[in-house]
């Protein structure tokens, strides 16, 4: 088969044009022990992070290790992702490493660390395509939120009940199929009826902005990586209307 030598008139490889120059992670601590903890998070090595955390806990308080080692390391990962240096798997691996370190710190403290706020997440009833929700969970976790993970194929009533019990700053819904996303307005209506005006971020597969903004409380989530920013807005007190204005339209 004849194969062309030059494809420049056939397609354009924009990914090659926009490739981001390699960047080293920045130093986040002047303390060598804590920097080792942060470095283990940045490279996403769980076992290294556990070893570094144990070493740091010999001389530092658990909260110092969390606030000056683990979290700054994760913030550096977020920066590298935002700037296009890191891909999603590197963020997830870093999140796994950070969580392993936090678990050791919590064990020493004898209690769980305080989280920024709760977010209830679920995938719609009848829908088992939840990898989007898995990513949302990991990113919210990495950004300090407590995730109330209801999993996939979740009935409307169960989502509403979780919101009533947990009083989250935000609730999310994921659906791949248009025929399952019809659960979202039902959830929103029940939340409204109970006076729970919680911002309800819906996204995934065929879920469209037009559909989600057709019911009260609904905010369309285009990409999973928007979830932490949206949760920060909800935590800061933005209501669903404010958030819809900012993120949609």
């Amino acid at each position: 088969m004849k194969i062309l030598e030059d494809f420049s008139n056939i397609f354009t490889r924009y990914d090659l044009n926009i490739e981001v120059a390699r960047q080293e992670a920045r130093k986040v601590s002047k303390d060598a022990t804590l920097q080792t903890v942060a470095d283990a998070v940045v490279v996403g090595e769980t076992e290294e992070c556990e070893a570094a955390t144990k070493a740091a806990l010999a001389a530092k308080s658990p909260m110092e290790v969390i606030n000056d080692g683990l979290i700054p390391g994760m913030n550096e990962v977020s920066r590298l992702w935002d700037e296009g240096v890191y891909f999603l798997p590197q963020v997830i691996l870093a999140s796994d490493a950070m969580n392993a370190g936090i678990a050791l710190c919590e064990e020493k403290m004898g209690k769980a660390m305080d989280k920024k706020g709760k977010v209830v997440t679920h995938t719609a009833e009848g829908d088992i395509h939840d990898i989007g929700q898995v990513i949302v969970n990991a990113l919210l976790n990495a950004n300090g939120f407590e995730v109330v993970n209801l999993g996939a194929d979740v009935p409307v009533d169960k989502v509403v009940e979780a919101c009533r019990v947990n009083n989250p700053v935000m609730v999310t819904g994921t659906a791949l199929m248009t025929t399952t996303m019809t659960a979202f307005p039902k959830i929103a209506a029940q939340l409204k009826r109970l006076g729970l005006n919680i911002p309800f971020v819906c996204g995934g597969g065929a879920v469209s902005e037009e559909y989600v903004t057709s019911f009260e409380l609904g905010i369309w989530g285009k990409e999973a990586n928007q979830a932490p920013g949206m949760a920060e807005d909800a935590l800061a007190g933005d209501n669903w209307n404010d958030m819809r204005s900012k993120w949609n339209g």
Partner: protein, 455 residues
């Protein structure tokens, strides 16, 4: 189950769109893979229509009927319609059966009135999410099998997008974990398919229905869509390509259990499957932009026997309803390919399709006929186990990507790929050792139950 040990085609040069080594004939006399490409349109119901069987029947009557009507209007001689079940159609197996019966009746009427030959593929939804139900013993499992029984009475072809290994795959794909892909897709997925497809083939034999095939939509397509286009940062395209190569090990199981094709349209691995099995394949590329984007627009048509659009939601467009519009588009694409065959220009036409996208990205590259055949050969030459052939496919795919300077990779993509190749070098040679390793490594993956796979 005997794992495939030889290629259906002696070389990639033999492989052509419209012709398969093992054609199959539908109830109304369409020979799939018998010398011409057949359009396959996939209507999807609008949200809200799934409320009752009555509303869903009406929705499909219109959506499928519009596609048939448009073929008559513009003179397309043949059409296959696929209905991929929405949750409710499989959850209530009678619904899927009633819709299949209704569509078969519509097709009989079009054959009688106009001479239009049409066939119907029913694809029950695999409701079994591995981390939520026992794959072999749950209400959802029984509903899926019951749904096959109901649909096989009326459909020409049945297919499924099976979910085996999805729990481990989802864990692995976002962690750059090539071993997890091999375990989830090849080892677990293959075992689940053998269990499922033995029963599907049996149901088809009892109902004079064609056991079509399976697709790794839930895994390899997830990887491909996460890799996305040229600005996505979710998964490297090179990893998505390796995932595609690995999935050949499990998709092939359907044919080793007795499925005959036509394969499932969203199985982008099908050019490799065709090289090994010779069954007619259904493919989708540019015409599936209504459902999702990919970088395989034309190249994926190079050896297709049916040409599909993945799925389009039924609603109005300027030119008519979506299903009418897509039946027309697909039919004209097929007409161009069939004209090329009739004129003897098929090789030239195929070269145009391949050159359009072979070097657009890793997926188009590995699925171009010449590379698809080489990956297929690696599969059959390493048929000691599902694991061995999945790994061999991935290694061959990686070697091809690294070895062709025309395939441009970003530094990140290249380094990622080199890392996966090193990771694979370190993996055990034997499947039993690999399984032992993985049972420990993935013991804490949410919902992973080895017994559900016979392990």
């Amino acid at each position: 189950m005997k794992l495939s040990s030889q290629m259906a085609y002696k070389s990639a040069d033999e492989m052509m769109f419209g012709t398969a080594k093992k054609p199959v004939t539908t109830k109304r006399g369409i020979v799939l893979g018998g010398g011409h490409v057949v359009p396959e349109v996939v209507p999807h119901p609008r949200p809200g229509s799934e409320k009752t069987m009555k509303t869903l029947l009406r929705e499909y009557e219109r959506a499928n009927g519009d596609a048939l009507e448009r073929c008559v209007i513009v003179g397309h001689p043949i059409l296959q319609i696929e209905n991929e079940h929405v949750f409710q159609m499989t959850h209530n197996p009678k619904w899927g059966g009633e819709i299949a019966a209704q569509t078969a009746k519509q097709m009989d009427e079009y054959l009688e009135k106009y001479g239009l030959k049409a066939s119907y593929r029913a694809t029950p939804a695999d409701l079994r999410k591995p981390d939520m139900v026992n794959m072999r013993d749950s209400d959802y499992t029984r509903e899926v099998l019951e749904s096959f029984k109901e649909c096989a009475k009326y459909a020409d072809v049945v297919s499924i997008e099976s979910m085996g290994g999805k729990e481990v795959f989802d864990h692995a794909i976002i962690r750059n974990d090539i071993a997890g892909l091999l375990f989830g897709q090849a080892v677990l997925g293959g075992r689940d398919m053998e269990w499922m497809w033995t029963q599907i083939v049996d149901i088809c034999k009892k109902n004079n229905c064609i056991p079509g095939g399976d697709t790794n939509c839930s895994e390899a397509n997830t990887a491909m869509f996460m890799a996305g286009g040229f600005i996505s940062k979710d998964v490297p395209h090179t990893m998505a390509a390796l995932s595609r190569a690995i999935c050949v090990s499990r998709t092939l199981v359907a044919y080793e259990c007795g499925a005959t094709g036509p394969t499932k349209d969203c199985a982008y691995e099908d050019p490799i499957i065709k090289s090994i099995t010779g069954v007619p394949i259904s493919s989708e590329g540019k015409t599936s932009a209504c459902a999702h984007s990919d970088l395989c627009g034309n190249v994926i048509a190079a050896v297709c026997d049916l040409w599909s659009n993945e799925a389009v939601e039924y609603h109005d467009m300027f030119g008519a309803t979506t299903t009418a519009v897509f039946a027309e588009i697909l039919g004209y694409d097929a007409a161009a390919m069939n004209a090329a065959i009739e004129l003897g220009y098929q090789k030239e036409f195929q070269a145009c399709l391949v050159n359009s996208d072979m070097y657009r990205g890793p997926h188009g590259f590995m699925l171009a006929p010449q590379n698809a055949w080489l990956i297929g050969k690696a599969v059959v030459d390493n048929n000691e186990s599902l694991y061995a052939r999945g790994k061999a496919a991935a290694v061959k795919c990686g070697e091809l990507m690294l070895g062709d300077p025309k395939l441009k990779l970003t530094a990140f993509e290249r380094e990622s790929l080199q890392g996966y190749m090193k990771d694979m070098e370190k993996l055990p040679a034997k499947e039993e050792d690999f399984i032992d390793m993985c049972l420990k490594k993935y013991a804490n993956v949410k919902g992973f139950d080895p017994a559900a796979y016979g392990l």
